[in-house]
Symmetry: C2
Subunit: 119 residues, 2 copies
């Protein structure tokens, strides 16, 4: 029964917007991701998505509001809801909790669509 | 779309071994719990359980080994595996990810079995 050290896992990659799987349970993945700048507007048809901010400030844009999520806070983006994560300053570290089927760009497929990768 | 501040939620209760639900997604609950002392040996027939330590040191006992989980680390206890969380010194704060159906004492029902409570 292995434990996972979050800082250690974060030290293993530098790319932005490319979530790394660090755990699996009940058909859900725990992922770590580093964010900087703005992402693409998208939604997930069948998956709710949790963003737990570990470091920095994440701005989660919705079509009708923007929620600022600081370190030590999380937000759940429900399935079907269009959203766009944005980091205005520096880099943000986030832990994601979502179904194993979740693709980072949701309904959109482009050069930022990431494959499944464990660290 | 509301965010959740973990420290704020932790300030709302003092009991030990009584997990509070702070979020829900994909049939899973996010819970916060404060631990002190030793718990009961138990397992969950159908649920894997993630323990993310936010503060303090958690000793997770299994029948054949013990894993020490520090702040910033998590451990996934797979379904069917007997375990016993123990806190030797002071208090530990933990975030749990687990199916909404999960009962804290698993296959055991006793005075430490907690009902579902949101904060």
């Amino acid at each position: 029964m292995d434990k996972v050290n979050i800082m250690e896992k974060l030290s293993l990659f530098d790319e932005h917007w490319s979530p790394k799987v660090v755990g699996e349970l009940n058909g859900q993945y725990v992922k770590l991701v580093k964010l900087s700048g703005g992402f693409v507007w998208h939604h997930h048809d069948d998956e709710d998505e949790l963003f737990l901010v570990l470091e920095g400030t994440l701005r989660m844009e919705f079509r009708d509001e923007t929620v600022t999520v600081e370190a030590g806070e999380f937000i759940v983006v429900e399935r079907g809801v269009e959203h766009r994560p944005v980091v205005e300053d520096g880099e943000v570290h986030v832990m994601l909790f979502e179904p194993a089927s979740t693709v980072n760009t949701g309904n959109v497929r482009n050069e930022r669509t990431a494959g499944e990768e464990w660290v």
